[in-house]
Amino acid sequence: MSSVVSARGLNLTFQTSDGPVHALKNVNLEIEKGDFVSFIGPSGCGKTTFLRCIAALEQPTGGSLSVNGMTPDEARRNRAYGYVFQAAGLYPWRTIARNIKLPLEIMGYTREEQEDRVRKVLDLVDLAGFGGKYPWQLSGGMQQRASIARALAFDADILLMDEPFGALDEIVRDHLNEQLLALWARTGKTIGFVTHSIPEAVYLSTRIVVMSPRPGRITDVIESPLPRERPLGIRDSKAFIEVAHRVREGLRAGHSDD
């Protein structure tokens, strides 16, 4: 079976006035269907850049990258993925329901189908009844959930999330992490998730990709021994703490050269 995402020898070099910046250097990674893969590392390690390459928002300068067996741009045009940005990016002048409908309108779904899907995804992210509200009437966590709902509204198999909960407080973040796992279990999507937080990465992922900057590269890939079903309490278990420790070691090793 072929991977959902396959990167071989991927490079991305930005030319700046101070010389070339190696955002990604020789990145090799396979993401299998149904995986929950987290990318963790300090600023400048290329974790967001890699996610953006998968989404064809960034153009690699070397190596090969395929998404669903296609080039990333073909996959993008085939709507292979939903992308959740760091900022919720909801249109302030559209209600939550109409924000979620935006991609559906663009893709030409019928009115009934749109209504139907909006109802389903609002349920999925626990926002039923908030469709008629405007984004500014919702809390930050709710806005981010609406943004996730929008990415789920059309049937993309891949969900790419760039630090979606980075701006939220820890209690809200815990709650959303729990909901995200439930959603992943229900939908069976393949998820790529960028984060700064070790507990978040360990709690969510089946695989944790540890990255390091200058040049941006993968320093460790950790297969999580945790079961797929994870109550929040699992974070106090021995296995969890061991994985977190290995991630921390990986991050420290990546930093030793500066």
């Binding site: 064809a56 045009r77 709507r79 992308y83 940005f85 935006l102 893709m107 790419l160």
Partner: protein, 238 residues
């Protein structure tokens, strides 16, 4: 001083009585300027959108040019359109000089850059905010334009009103290409210019009052729409 007051009384009597000549002039003004804004919008909005989302060589220069053209002197536009339409000009065969159509053409030339430049700003700002979102939804650059136009419609309406304000209040271009012919091409601004020099102050004042009312209304609408957008912006940031 008494005469002065009398002119004002006569002017308002004209307005209140719904004087036929006054009404005809006001209606012609509105017709010319509304048509001009319509055609300017048809040309200017896609142009503004193309400048906002397009990436092609010379784009920067074109943006500067369109912005600069917002300040075109109406008299000069009138002169150029006059030369084009005059009997010996390249478009002389159309025999459009001294017709309302000529006046519409001149105003389209004046208003198009305003609508194009303001539309570009609106769409560029929206695009900066939503380009990646749209891209992640599988859209090409140009496929995003209708969405941006629709979502920016209030700000774009402001651009149209600004264009209309310019057109309705402008005198230099229409007087040259229209010729200020009674019952044919006489609009509010040109009538005011003529009647004032003839000493028929009552009609000039009456038209002036109507013109100011229209200008004030349009500007009030512009700022009202702007305020609504601002309030929403504030609510969003709250």
């Amino acid at each position: 001083m008494q005469e002065f007051a009398q002119e004002f009384r006569d002017a308002f009597a004209l307005i209140l009585a719904g004087d036929a000549e006054l009404l005809a002039i006001v209606l012609l003004s509105l017709r010319v300027s509304l048509f001009a804004v319509f055609f300017a919008a048809v040309i200017g909005m896609p142009l503004g959108a193309a400048l906002a989302v397009g990436r092609f060589p010379g784009r920067g220069a074109l943006v500067v040019l369109v912005n600069a053209l917002m300040g075109l002197p109406p008299v000069v536009v009138g002169l150029l359109v006059y030369l084009m339409l005059s009997r010996s000009g390249p478009l002389g065969v159309l025999q459009l000089l001294y017709t309302p159509t000529a006046m519409i053409i001149a105003q389209v030339v004046l208003v198009t850059p305003i609508i194009a430049a303001l539309s570009r700003q609106v769409i560029e700002m929206l695009d900066a905010e939503y380009a990646e979102q749209m891209r992640s939804l599988g859209l090409s650059r140009f496929a995003t334009v209708p969405v941006l136009l629709w979502d920016g419609r209030i700000a774009l309406l402001t651009a149209l009103l600004a264009g209309f304000g310019r057109a309705i209040a402008e005198v230099g271009a229409v007087i040259i290409v229209g010729g200020n012919i009674n019952h044919v091409t006489r609009v509010m601004t040109t009538t005011i210019a003529l009647e004032t020099s003839k000493g028929n102050l009552a009609l000039a004042l009456a038209l002036g009052a109507v013109l100011i009312a229209i200008a004030v209304t349009v500007n009030a609408l512009v700022s009202l729409l702007g305020q609504r957008a601002e309030v929403r912006e504030a609510m969003r940031n709250a």
